[in-house]
């Protein structure tokens, strides 16, 4: 009885607790519903609790719709100011909470945030649909568009008007009712299939495991074995039956996740096991079971083609590319095929190099796809002899940060001051104020560099506050998140050269977000087309590998000695290693993506296998390499937003190699004139002009591919 009373008391107490909590979250104490009086309007992270998000999101969406209604129902005739500028001003609260949430849900997440993310995704999707499909809103935009010749609009305003209108049109605003109904129907099917594709892929990836005994671990290093043992233990913990528990006892588990598979393929001396794991990876979604993606992929491609045709485009690729820097499938194919031949030739040389090692070892087999990681590593060691461990002491995080700060200082006169009195979301996140040459405030840069268990893998840039000049000068708060190894004990964090490149890359994105100087926030920073926005990031990478710059920051953290020339030389030579493979697998996937999205709705195809085989045979892909993603696990294009867009990475690479070549030609990597052009025409402009125009203003001509071939060692100069 006593116990019962106790339980009741607890329940009543906790119920009271939650109800007051909720009331609190919804009203005055919710930091999202208040003005932020923090320095530089950095979000007041210490006041934001998980329970604040949902109420703020709901209020934000409601407010946003009220604002949209006010625009639509404005009795005055539509003008640029009362429609487009008001649209820019709308959604402030929503954007405020969304920025914080989406950042923290990736960089400092917890089960509650992950759950919220799943809950919010359909709500937000429906919310934005209400705006895009708002006919009254489109009518006002269209009226202004029709009258544009007689309006006195600036270039930036003209671009905003055109982009906004286009977004409505591309959502079907100009179609008749019957067509709209058809599009809605297709979209529903596509959305259903996309979800199924992703779920199948997840099931297929999680469904395979290589269960090993301790006699199967030959060649593996201690760290890799420990991780596999840990994985088995995890499985034991999650096991529901005793039988299942026994299955994992004293075993080692490898999975087709990259972090598990690549080390195994590189190190294991058991060729049969390498084959098993690799085959499981490339067969995902292609196992003729209930989670097979072959038919789904084919149906998705056909539905997309059908929709594009309804909207008046030849194929889905045409529809997508209209908004990109490369405007037609022909231009994309042209770019990819220019790289394809040299990449494939190079890959064949790499196969021969590896075969030589196999023969030398006295084995009697031909190099197969699952041998690539192991034997390329052997070739790398023999040919380049670059000891990563010897390099790292020169690349402490603080040194590299100084290097990137110094680089932007020499290019644009920027200075960085670390701030210690600003509240951040995690003690590893550091804050700098970025100032311009004349000392004026440009923005806040947050760097969150170390890996931790509640951070997603990979590296990215994002922002907590955007830039706009619409209602006074508003400067941004930008963040870089990476996954560099955390320091051990009191030693500094030492980076690999790959980490250094990543740091410069993300810092380039950050510069794009910080130097931006546009009137309308929606066109600021990194808002441009996907095949352009990597350019400002990738071009900065080139400075990291300039010997002159490397020497300025890469000093030994203990002795202070400058990095020796011989090490730099080896480093730069090694960067061209295995490029045949990397480019071939990437280009094959890009071409496959383009093939899938240049079919017409009438195309006769049943499943993905035959289509893919034909596509790869056409370009002559060698059997030692599979495309980076095969059709049945190409989530970028069948479950994400990269359809007819996987080529974007290499297009940006053409731009950055060609762009940096300009500095080389000028004979000075800090050429003042070029640096100024790069800043005004690229980093400051956001998407206020067509990307190609911006590039041409900086470079003086259209991009050429030659520099990229040289950088990647595909111009025949690598031995």
């Amino acid at each position: 009885m006593k116990k019962l009373l106790f339980i009741i008391a607890i329940i009543v107490f906790s119920a009271c607790q939650t109800s007051t909590d909720q009331a609190e979250m919804q009203t005055s104490n919710n930091p999202f519903l208040q003005e932020w009086d923090t320095p530089f309007e950095v979000p007041p992270f210490n006041k934001i609790k998980d329970a604040h998000y949902m109420p703020a999101f709901k209020k934000g969406m409601a407010e946003n719709l009220t604002e949209i209604d006010a625009i639509v129902n404005n009795p005055e005739a539509p003008t640029f100011a009362n429609t487009l500028e008001e649209l820019e001003r709308a959604g402030k609260l929503l954007s405020k909470v969304q920025r914080v949430f989406s950042n923290l849900a990736s960089s400092n997440t917890n089960p509650k945030l992950q759950e919220l993310q799943r809950e919010l995704s359909p709500l937000l999707s429906a919310h934005y649909d209400k705006i895009t499909l708002n006919e009254g809103l489109f009518k006002r935009v269209e009226a202004i568009w029709q009258a544009r010749e007689n309006l006195d609009l600036s270039n930036e305003q003209r671009k905003l008007l055109a982009d906004t209108r286009k977004a409505f049109v591309r959502s079907g605003a100009l179609l008749n009712e019957e067509q709209k109904a058809k599009i809605t129907e297709i979209n529903a099917k596509i959305s259903e299939l996309t979800t199924a594709y992703g779920q199948n892929l997840l099931a297929e990836t999680n469904g395979f495991e290589l269960l090993l005994n301790d006699t199967d671990l030959g060649g593996l290093t201690y760290g890799v074995i420990a991780a596999a043992a840990e994985a088995a233990e995890q499985k034991m913990e999650n096991a529901e039956t005793e039988e299942e528990k026994a299955k994992y006892k004293d075993k080692y588990v490898f999975t087709p996740h990259r972090s598990s598979m690549y080390p195994f393929l590189t190190q294991s001396d058991r060729r049969d096991l390498r084959e098993q794991l690799y085959t499981a990876y490339v067969q995902r979604g292609d196992n003729d079971n209930e989670t097979d993606n072959k038919e789904i992929a084919a149906r998705l491609a056909k539905l997309r083609a059908e929709r594009a045709q309804l909207m008046g485009y030849e194929t889905h690729a045409h529809f997508v590319l209209e908004e990109r820097m490369l405007k037609t499938p022909a231009e994309v194919y042209d770019l990819l095929m220019q790289l394809w031949k040299p990449a494939l030739e190079r890959a064949k040389v790499e196969v021969a190099d590896m075969q030589a090692v196999v023969d030398q070892e006295g084995h009697d087999f031909k190099i197969a796809a699952w041998d690539w990681w192991q034997y390329s590593e052997k070739v790398r060691k023999a040919k380049y002899d670059l000891d990563e461990a010897a390099l790292k002491p020169y690349l402490s995080l603080d040194n590299v940060l100084n290097g990137v700060f110094e680089t932007t200082n020499k290019l644009w006169g920027l200075t960085f001051t670390e701030l210690f009195d600003i509240n951040v979301y995690h003690p590893d996140a550091r804050v700098w104020e970025v100032k311009d040459k004349d000392g004026s405030h440009l923005g806040i840069f947050i760097g969150d560099y170390f890996t931790r268990s509640n951070k997603r893998g990979g590296a990215w840039m994002s922002s907590f506050k955007g830039q706009s000049n619409l209602d006074g000068r508003e400067r941004p708060v930008v963040v870089n998140v990476c996954n560099f190894p955390a320091p051990v004990g009191d030693a500094p964090s030492l980076l690999s050269f790959e980490n250094v490149i990543t740091l410069f890359h993300e810092f380039g994105h950050a510069m794009h977000g910080i130097l931006t100087d546009v009137t309308y926030g929606s066109m600021a920073g990194t808002s441009g087309p996907r095949d352009f926005t990597e350019f400002p990031a990738q071009i900065l990478e080139h400075w990291a590998s300039e010997p002159e710059i490397l020497k300025s920051f890469a000093t030994h953290y203990e002795t202070g000695e400058v990095i020796p020339d011989i090490l730099i030389e080896k480093l730069l030579k090694a960067s061209k290693f295995n490029q045949g493979f990397a480019n071939t697998e990437y280009l094959a996937a890009s071409l496959l993506d383009m093939d899938w999205h240049t079919i017409t709705a009438e195309e006769d195809l049943k499943d993905a296998d035959a289509f893919e085989a034909a596509s790869l045979a056409k370009i002559g892909l060698i059997k030692e390499i599979a495309p980076r993603y095969r059709s049945t696990y190409f989530a970028h294009i069948f479950a994400g937003g990269y359809a007819a867009g996987y080529y974007s990475y290499v297009h940006s690479a053409v731009l950055d190699s060609d762009g940096f070549e300009a500095f080389k030609e000028a004979g000075n990597v800090f050429d003042a004139q070029l640096a100024a052009k790069l800043r005004t025409h690229v980093y400051e402009k956001g998407s206020t002009e067509e990307a190609m125009e911006l590039y041409k203003k900086f470079r003086g001509r259209e991009p050429k591919i030659d520099a990229l071939l040289k950088v990647r060692g595909l111009d025949g100069s690598t031995d």
Binding site: D129, A167, H257, E418, W460, T533, A639, G640
Partner: protein, 250 residues
């Protein structure tokens, strides 16, 4: 119309509010390719602690030596009150041994001198003794002085020497928390000194408080029976508990 939204509208409305250089859908793809995040609380707590220290060290590096000096005095005090409960109990153990000022002064001086020596030696990296040896011994030192208080009416003449020995142990304990807290690379010695001063201040504060509390009853006939012995017994019990905990339960 969900798909069209992602493709078209995100460029003009959405993308400005959530700008990922590697777009969000790519992160979802990463979830598939890399596996989902598993939350391991212990590991996360350890990571957080290490990150806090790094943050503190960065702040320190940007401070003047005067700022650091004040900060470390404060840290020293904090590591007695409230964080150094075992040191508080030890000092109280000394306090309840004798109300004769001279005797107390000798003991406290011996304790201070001893822990200053080992704190400095350990902070400089000259002496290194693992915590799982030092920590149980500290617990035992508390038991020792408390038991002695109950058994002996008058403090024995070797007491300052014994207390000196225990002081050496406590200094190692301070060094462990200080190394966790972190000493700045520049101004190492002055910060170490400041920390030590802080520890002495904290210790003094404990003694003054205890003295103030028993000031008016110290001469009562029942002081030893009702205050000195029960208090010492309590201290001894806590010490025993800590010893067991540190040896068998950690």
């Amino acid at each position: 119309m969900r798909y069209l939204k992602t493709l078209a509208f995100c460029i003009f409305l959405f993308s400005s509010s959530v700008v990922f250089s590697h777009p969000l859908d790519e992160l979802v793809i990463l979830d598939i390719e890399e596996g989902q995040i598993t939350f391991q609380n212990e590991q996360m707590a350890a990571e957080y602690k290490a990150a806090l220290k790094r943050q503190r060290m960065r702040k320190l590096a940007a401070m003047t030596w005067q700022e650091k000096f004040l900060l470390f005095i404060q840290a020293g005090i904090e590591h007695i009150i409230p964080k150094g409960l075992d040191h508080i109990l030890f000092v109280l153990g000394l306090f309840f041994s004798s109300l004769i000022l001279v005797s107390l002064l000798w003991q406290v001086t011996a304790f201070t001198l001893a822990h200053t020596i080992t704190l400095a030696l350990a902070a400089l990296g000259i002496v290194q003794i693992p915590a799982d040896i030092v920590e149980p011994l500290i617990a035992l030192s508390i038991v020792w002085v408390a038991v002695e208080n109950c058994v002996l009416k008058e403090t024995n003449k070797w007491r300052p020497l014994i207390v000196f020995g225990f002081g050496l142990l406590h200094g190692l304990g301070f060094a462990a928390v200080l190394s966790e807290y972190g000493l700045p690379e520049g101004n190492f010695i002055s910060s170490l000194l400041a920390f030590n001063i802080g520890v002495e201040l904290g210790q003094l504060l404990v003694l003054i408080t205890a003295a103030a509390l028993v000031w008016f009853i110290r001469k009562k006939s029942w002081y030893r029976q009702r205050i000195q012995i029960p208090a010492s017994l309590m201290i001894a019990l806590v010490g025993i508990f800590w010893f067991v905990e540190r040896v068998f339960l950690s």
